[in-house]
């Protein structure tokens, strides 16, 4: 048994690596075949064509595309992501600063998403068809339809303009920009509290949209499960409603939810682009946008490979998790 698990995991890992490489190659092609010259962003407008050619040569852009690909691939295999054109720093170190911000934002929101969304969906399923259920469905559909940047702007309006106008207590005047209070010298607990205060709006917005989606999913699954034969059997044999809910219904509900948790992380991390943009957070979104604007090929490729790695790892962990949480799926 363990040996078969080992070989299947090894096969999955191999497949994931191949997939990762194909994604990187596709991104390389997409980025390099697009019009636009990165050298144009690095030289003053008065520079001569000879200067431009020198910059291009220094960046290796004068070589044939296949040669560039070979160089880039060799560097990647050594774990070298290259040097950012626009920042002049190693891509690896830029990503090491930005990734924790976005992953932290994504993970915190996702945790909150499930902590709020799943119980809400289950409550709705329990109230299935009643007015409360319909009202929450309407609300979650609307929140799920709202762009996060719009929600962010609306909440900024409420918590800055509104808080001042309506005289909300200072504790509710949440900071609308940045990750820390500028110039703050606090450390330890005070610094952590400062970050948390800054994180309430961004995390809350991503979690609200996510929770609306998860509530829809949890409600639909629970309603569907409640109509299954094994639930009727459990009731018929005299199991208490409590036992039916916890032993039979939830036991079947949570495996797909755990898998969904793994699968949802990449989308939330990528989706934080907008919230990061509104709240001026120094995360992956900002890196990605400025890198694209500057035709900073190494940084675009590095950031995309980080996103792809997150997706592929999430898929892999979902595949590994599913048989563990749902024995029926174990082969």
């Amino acid at each position: 048994m363990p040996s078969s698990l080992l070989t299947s995991t090894a096969r999955r890992l191999g497949g994931a690596l191949v997939l990762f490489w194909l994604v990187l190659t596709l991104t390389f092609a997409l980025v390099r075949l697009a019009p636009g010259d990165p050298a144009a962003f690095l030289i003053p407008p008065t520079a001569t064509p000879a200067d431009a050619a020198r910059v291009r040569a220094a960046l290796g852009l004068d070589q044939p595309l296949l040669v560039q690909y070979a160089h880039w691939a060799a560097d990647m295999l050594r774990g070298d992501l290259g040097t950012s054109f626009s920042l002049g720093r190693p891509v690896g170190s830029v990503l090491r600063e930005a990734l924790p911000v976005s992953i932290g934002l994504g993970a915190a929101s996702l945790l909150l998403t499930f902590l709020v969304g799943v119980p809400l969906g289950l409550l709705q399923a329990a109230w299935h068809g009643r007015r409360a259920d319909r009202a929450i469905t309407m609300l979650s559909t609307a929140v799920y339809a709202a762009p996060t940047f719009w929600l962010a702007l609306a909440l900024v309006a409420v918590f800055t303009y509104g808080a001042a106008t309506w005289g909300l207590p200072p504790a509710l005047r949440l900071p609308a920009f940045g990750l820390r209070t500028p110039g703050a010298t606090a450390s330890g607990t005070a610094a952590l509290l400062d970050v948390i205060r800054h994180a309430i709006l961004p995390v809350g917005i991503l979690a609200a949209v996510g929770a609306a989606g998860i509530a829809r999913y949890a409600r639909a699954s629970a309603v569907e499960l409640a109509g299954e034969d094994f639930i009727r059997t459990a009731r018929a044999k005299g199991a208490s409603p409590r036992a039916v809910t916890y032993r039979h219904l939830l036991r079947n509900l949570w495996p797909p939810l755990i898998v969904l948790f793994a699968l949802a992380l990449p989308g939330v991390v990528a989706g934080s682009v907008f919230v990061e943009s509104v709240f001026a957070w120094p995360g992956m979104g900002r890196v990605m946008l400025s890198a694209i604007a500057a035709r900073d090929y190494p940084l675009v490729l590095g950031a995309t490979s980080a996103y792809a790695a997150i997706v592929i790892l999430a898929n892999l962990s979902a595949e590994v998790l599913l048989p563990i949480v749902d024995p029926r799926r174990a082969r």
Binding site: L19, F20, L22, V23, L26, T27, L30, V31, A34, P35, H128, G129, T137, T141, A142, Y144, A145, A146, P147, T148, F149, W150, L153, A154, V156, A157, Y161, L206, V209, G210, G213, R216, Y217, R219, A220, S221, V223, E224, G227, A264, P266, G267, V268, V269, A270, G271, V273, F274, S277, M288, L289, I292, A293, R295, A303, T304, Y307, A308, V311, N315
Partner: protein, 294 residues
Amino acid sequence: MTKGSRTARTPWGPLATLVAIALGAILVPMLAAQDPLAIGDVLARRLLPPLSRGPEGSVHLLGTDGFGRDVFVRAMLGGRLSLAVGVAGSILAGAAGTLVGAVAAWRGGVTDRLTMGLADVLLSVPRLVLLLVCAALWAPGVTTVIVVLVATGWMGVARLVRAEVQGVRSRAYIDAAVALGSSEWRTLFRHALPNALAPAVVATTLGVGNAVLLESGLSFLGLGVQPPAPSWGNMIAGGREVIVTSPWVSLAPGLLLIVTVVASTLLGDWLQARLGMRDTGYGLRDADQRTSIV
């Protein structure tokens, strides 16, 4: 919404809402007294709150923006682009996915492995990241947004249709069609595909809301529809600087967008129930394909 016991009622509310928004988007800019793009007497007109009167006595239903342009008229004009891009992006992506999925299932072998491999590769990058890379590297604009929405949106439908076509290809009526001399492609497009379309139709309908959201996101970041042409996304971005003092400039187009997306989601939900498909409750922003939170 609900499944099983109660049959799905025709969603007149969402339908009427969508028709009203579409009609408004077509008619209001044509009938408007003031050119929604022209910048006139900025000082007299800028940032008037909703329902206030301009210098000529005309009422500004949703107020005016920082350039003194009527927000309602602009939001309706923006609705043209946002709706057109959303509907075109979603339908074209659905059509492309249907074609790819059907051919992959029908031909099998190398065609199947190549196309599904490409779908796997594209699904391994969050759609938003793909959109950003593609939209930003090519000249931003309406055409680019549509092309990019299609290029990054066909995979989910392709997988759905492929599974359906594989399911119907061993049915007796397919054998019958072949026995009656129907050619390979005719069998696929006349007999197999029509019986495999339901999930594609649902996914495409639910995809409209998703495409509208993605377009607004790209335009918000300045990578989609370019000002002065209004779209809901770039109007929201345009009101960013005055969000604290004149929130209606950003919030009004966003409300219109939310109403549109909700209506199209309810329509998709209804279609899903109507076609007897499993309600995953996770339709919007996800049609077998996990997309990013916009």
